[in-house]
């Protein structure tokens, strides 16, 4: 199995709880040359994991859906914010500790898996607040 597929499979396995326990839809996986995106949708929001293959890094974002669909643009759609990094939301809302920054500039598979595990813990910790705030998170 390729390393990229191994990481993607790990992330899908790590976050499977979002579907089985927390009522998210089955993940949407989009693969491009430089990135794999995994989206877990519930209501008008999505929890998105970006696996950036050029920088070999993992990023976690919240997405505001438009008419139940993932916006086709990136951070802004129709003049409104549609994507925010989870860390930035936690910081803006003063919800507590953000995901720690890695110590090393270049990353390996273990770093990415570790970040995925931390992201899951942070997301589940704030899931209720995220659901309550909803659209207002993107104001």
């Amino acid at each position: 199995m390729s390393q990229q597929k191994e990481i993607t499979a790990f992330v899908l396995d790590e976050f499977s709880e979002l579907v089985s326990r927390w009522g998210f839809q089955s993940p949407k996986v989009s693969e491009e040359d430089w990135m794999t995106r995994i989206d877990y949708i519930k209501g008008d929001l999505a929890f998105e994991i970006e696996l950036d293959w050029r920088d070999f890094d993992l990023f976690v974002l919240l997405v505001r859906l438009e008419n139940g669909q993932l916006p086709s643009s990136y951070y802004v759609s129709n003049g409104r914010k549609c994507r925010k990094h989870l860390n930035n939301v936690i910081r803006e809302q003063r919800w507590g500790q953000v995901l720690p920054a890695p110590l090393r500039k270049t990353r390996d598979v273990a770093d990415i898996k570790d970040t995925a595990a931390q992201a899951k813990r942070a997301f589940l910790e704030h899931l209720e607040r995220i659901a309550q705030a909803g659209d207002a998170l993107f104001a």
Binding site: S2, W34, D52, Y75, V76, K81, N88, P102
Partner: protein
């Protein structure tokens, strides 16, 4: 000056070798410059299998390359150690590409390839398409990316910089070493243009980032 038969034969052999090497490089698909001009809008999709890679660069799965912005040196990683004839052929093609760059689509660079691609699609430009780097090798990825940006500069392509992904930087407290490398190479390049706004640690491209 006396010219012996031996000298004449040596010269003829050298000339023939030059012709053969020049032809060999000119007909490599990666060096083929006619196709992109026939189709300036769409990328060319060419599956490349490991066994058929003539440069010994293992490619495990079929990939798709954008001929219009294909890095020349990426296609022939050993060109710098090639014979003077091969270098001559390479330089001729480089010069031709430089001349052809006038009126060609600009190149977009920036942090976060997703942003770069979105912006490139929006303005009808080209973005770097990284070669498959699986398992990840930081040095190899960096070397390939650097060759590509140097080739674009050598060809005189207009380069538009959409800048850092300030939101990603705020979230992760780190920069992309690949984008940083592109910026270093573009420092002082005359055909370089920034389209992002910056205010301290925030900013971006209006409509794309805020």
């Amino acid at each position: 000056m006396q010219v012996s038969l031996k000298h004449l034969l040596s010269f003829a052999l050298l000339w023939l070798t030059s012709l053969v090497v020049s032809y060999a490089y000119a007909v490599q698909p990666a060096f083929h410059t006619a196709e992109p001009r026939l189709n300036a809008v769409h990328s060319y999709e060419t599956p490349v299998q490991a066994a058929s890679s003539p440069w010994g660069d293992p490619v495990s799965t079929p990939q798709f390359y954008d001929y219009e912005s294909l890095p020349l040196l990426e296609c022939a990683p050993d060109i710098r150690s090639a014979s003077p004839h091969a270098l001559c052929a390479y330089e001729r093609i480089s010069s031709f590409l430089a001349a052809e760059s006038v009126g060609r689509k600009p190149i977009i660079v920036g942090e976060n390839m997703k942003r770069v691609k979105k912006y490139a699609d929006k303005v009808g430009a080209h973005a770097y398409r990284p070669w498959k780097n699986d398992p990840f090798d930081f040095g190899l990825g960096m070397k390939r990316n650097e060759r590509w940006i140097k080739d674009q500069i050598r060809a005189g392509r207009e380069v538009i910089d959409i800048g850092p992904d300030f939101q990603r930087r705020a979230a992760t407290e780190r920069n992309s070493p690949f984008y940083d490398m592109e910026r270093r190479n573009l420092d002082g390049y005359e055909n370089y243009r920034k389209v992002f706004e910056r205010s301290g640690q925030t900013g971006g491209v209006p409509g794309l980032d805020f």
